[in-house]
């Protein structure tokens, strides 16, 4: 088996219907609906602990329960399983593999032959071509997260779920990496969980605010221009004030 897909996969939409999740006898959300449009970025904002990450893990099938198997539907009617990639706040690079082998991790874990050329292309695109043989602990936080992005892209899945992937970085690295991710994940269906309104407004085709317990989703905010929007875009700045106000009101 050789993994040689080069063209981006056909985008699929995703709808979550009546999702329910309880955690330590607390109902985090019940009857939650979320629509991820095909080939678009959907951003999920909300105070910490509201259940954003849990919703993302539920879609990934990592919540350990089967009760939500009926709630997630793909626009093409097929199963989501095997068509979703995940990028977390921590890079989770394996310290015993060099950068290139970390990027090729997916094929290693599926016992497939990795496409090294494609991995090198992705490392070049993320600016890591020179350190492809380096071990992760010799890299800076920003470089490590870029390697994690390259690893996510290497999976070449139509749906990408990201849980605050840039939040541990300094402002400049974060902005650069946001642009890179927007460029490289173009035409994928992306769900980005973040607590940074600016990040959501720069990257999201639509933005939801998740608040309350059990949590509910606010109506989608859809900024005019297409992402990635510049940090000083007037629309971004205008919505940022609005979002910050909403988040402040929701905070306990």
């Amino acid at each position: 088996m050789n993994e040689t897909t080069v063209t981006p996969p056909i985008p699929i939409g995703l709808s979550v219907r009546h999702a329910r999740l309880a955690w330590h006898e607390q109902v985090l959300f019940d009857g939650l609906d979320l629509e991820l449009k095909a080939g678009q970025w959907t951003c999920l904002l909300g105070p910490s602990g509201v259940g954003k990450s849990m919703l993302l893990r539920l879609i990934l099938g990592l919540d350990g329960s089967q009760e939500n198997s009926e709630t997630i539907n793909c626009s093409d009617g097929l199963q989501l399983n095997g068509r979703v990639a995940f990028m977390a706040q921590q890079d989770f690079l394996f310290p015993w593999l060099n950068v290139l082998d970390n990027v090729l991790l997916g094929s290693r874990i599926r016992n497939a032959v990795g496409n090294r050329d494609k991995a090198m292309q992705l490392l070049a695109a993320t600016g890591l071509a020179d350190v492809s043989e380096a071990m992760p602990d010799t890299l800076s936080g920003g470089m490590r997260q870029r390697a994690a992005l390259a690893r996510t892209l290497m999976e070449d899945r139509p749906v990408v779920l990201m849980d605050e992937p840039f939040s541990a970085l300094d402002v400049i690295s974060r902005i650069k990496l946001q642009e890179l991710a927007a460029e490289l994940l173009n035409c994928r269906t992306v769900l980005l969980v973040t607590h940074d309104p600016l990040e959501a407004l720069r990257l999201g085709h639509s933005i939801h605010v998740m608040t309350g317990r059990p949590a509910t989703l606010g109506a989608a905010i859809v900024p005019d221009k297409l992402p990635p929007r510049p940090v000083d875009d007037s629309g971004v700045l205008e919505h940022q004030g609005e979002l910050l106000r909403q988040l402040a009101e929701a905070a306990p």
């Binding site: 990934l60 990592l62 399983n81 095997g82 979703v84 990639a85 995940f86 977390a88 921590q90 989770f92 394996f94 310290p95 015993w96 991790l105 997916g106 290693r108 874990i109 599926r110 016992n111 071990m135 602990d137 999976e155």
Partner: protein, 251 residues
Amino acid sequence: MKLLRPAIILIGLLAIWQVVVSLSGAPPYILPGPWAVAQAWSQRPELFLHHGTITMAEILLGLIFGLGLGVTSALIMAYFRPARQWLMPVLVVSQAVPVFALAPVLVLWVGYGMASKVVMATLIIYFPVTAAFHDGLRRTEPGWLELARTMNGSRWAILRHVRIPAALPALGSGLRVATAVAPIGAIVGEWVGSSSGLGYLMLHANARMQIDVMFAALATLSLLAVTLYFSVDSAVRHAIKWQPDSHSNEP
């Protein structure tokens, strides 16, 4: 400095030994000085080399078997969850019964020769290796496991590519402890019944009041044990170079 420090420690210990001998006025048949022991060694080096080789072979074979058995048990317990409930009691029992108490039985069963000592060393090594590796296999970073699951890895693939490599530092710690205790198994076995090995030589010399020979055998054993420990330690460090603290240059 790297070689100088152990040399200084060694010379310091020898000096203290000599001072104790001189100040206490202990007769040579109770506590011979370092010089007398060195002389005893140099008079018959082939004697100590011969018995040392046998003891070392017992320890090394014990390490190989103990490591193999321990790694296998830990993997079985990690992969087949029900196996854990069956193997754990065996593991605990293997430690609850002291090796010293088993030694006469093992000599009776396995014989007077090398085999009983190898079994003894294996038994003593088995537990630290199994316990450490099993702990390491159970404590894999959850983020790594979840990542591997989203990549559609099978349980076996996740064990092989994530849990085993992640548990190697723990296995390394277990192996270090095992190496430090391994000589106990071999020596106890030799004391209980044997016709060769450093433990036998010590008993034999003791019975004939050749205390300097006894101490020379003890010194040979210490040298072997220390050499073995540092060899294993450096091999472990080399094998898990990626582990941050194994190549830190902190003083």
